[in-house]
């Protein structure tokens, strides 16, 4: 059902764009194909990792680290991992879904997604260069706080 909605939205947007500017709309297909090739290596890596997760990792083992009982230390560890990792957000969602299916907690998954997308340790030098050290520190620091708060709230409501 959601897949149908997503495809309708994309096709609708394409039809609208096509009516406005044919050439640009057709070019977007090319851009999309290029983006696909760009994420393809990472896509395959993520799918293989998910396969390995289901083939070789026991639920008990995984839950010790990122399950309900992992506690504050687990959350903190995942927050730092998310901050350091450099995975396209698009691919973080299937990975997260697989971890949830294996018994990871909602709090942990929300922490992972938020810190992965908002905090960039790898891109920090670029951020400092463009926006200054003070702003970069404030932005990444507050994003860390945001990641923890958002995920704790999500753990409470879901």
């Amino acid at each position: 059902m959601t897949a149908v909605i997503i495809n309708i939205i994309a096709l609708g947007a394409f039809a609208f764009a096509f009516s406005r500017n044919r050439q640009k709309a057709l070019k977007s297909i090319k851009v999309a194909a290029k983006m696909f090739l760009g994420i393809l290596p990472m896509l395959i890596i993520i799918i293989l990792l998910i396969g390995l997760l289901f083939g070789f990792v026991s639920e008990e083992g995984l839950q010790q680290f990122i399950g309900e009982q992992s506690g504050p230390l687990g959350v903190l560890l995942v927050a730092v991992t998310g901050a350091v990792l450099h995975i396209p957000a698009l691919l973080a969602f299937p990975l997260s879904a697989s971890l949830l299916a294996k018994g990871a907690s909602i709090t942990i998954i929300a922490t992972f997604i938020t810190s992965l997308t908002m905090i960039g340790v790898v891109t920090l030098p670029l951020e400092i260069k463009e926006l200054g050290g003070r702003f970069a520190a404030l932005r990444n620091g507050t994003s860390f706080v945001a990641a923890l708060t958002i995920s704790l709230l999500m753990g409470l409501v879901i």
Partner: protein, 165 residues
């Protein structure tokens, strides 16, 4: 080494590791195989649409469009516009840094720049669609709501402390 070839090295390495592990542990083959197939199918039905949407957004929402609309409104409306504009572009957040810099140089509010960057990072529309597909509506909506609340509050905090000669 060519960059295009280089990015395939970890892929091949992981594929080889997987093959060895599966050879050594035959009982893992079925769960591995069905999972890989499942997730590949899940992605095939949404990824082309999401990428097409991203392609459209990247061509039709230009940096100039963003600069022209961000910072022209003030107060709550300005913050709402910053959120909205942040959800439209595509690409990782570091691509937004130069835009944010231009906006700041033009005198846009720090809170709005912070909101724009945060929205760009974690609540972009194509991204939210994939989240909806894989994690469900409940997860997506709660994360969206909490993110908007937290980012709004923190934007004011950052604005307060960002100004220093």
């Amino acid at each position: 080494m060519n960059k295009k070839i280089k990015q395939w090295v970890p892929v091949i390495a992981l594929a080889l590791i997987s093959a060895v592990l599966l050879y050594l542990q035959p009982e893992a083959r079925t769960p591995f195989g069905t999972t890989v197939l499942d997730y590949t199918m899940e992605l095939i039905v949404v990824l082309p649409a999401v990428l097409l949407l991203m392609g459209l957004l990247s061509l039709f929402i230009s940096n100039q469009f963003i600069s022209a609309h961000l910072g022209s409104e003030s107060g709550l409306k300005g913050m709402a516009v910053a959120f909205l504009l942040g959800t439209l572009p595509t690409g990782p957040v570091y691509m937004a840094f130069p835009i944010a810099r231009t906006l700041r140089d033009k005198g846009a509010r720090v809170a709005n720049i912070y909101i724009f960057l945060s929205a760009w990072a974690c609540i972009k529309i194509p991204q939210e669609l994939v989240e909806l597909r894989f994690l469900g509506a409940e997860f997506m909506i709660y994360r969206l709501v909490f993110t908007v609340i937290m980012v709004s509050l923190l934007s004011l905090f950052v604005e307060k402390f960002a100004h220093k000669p």
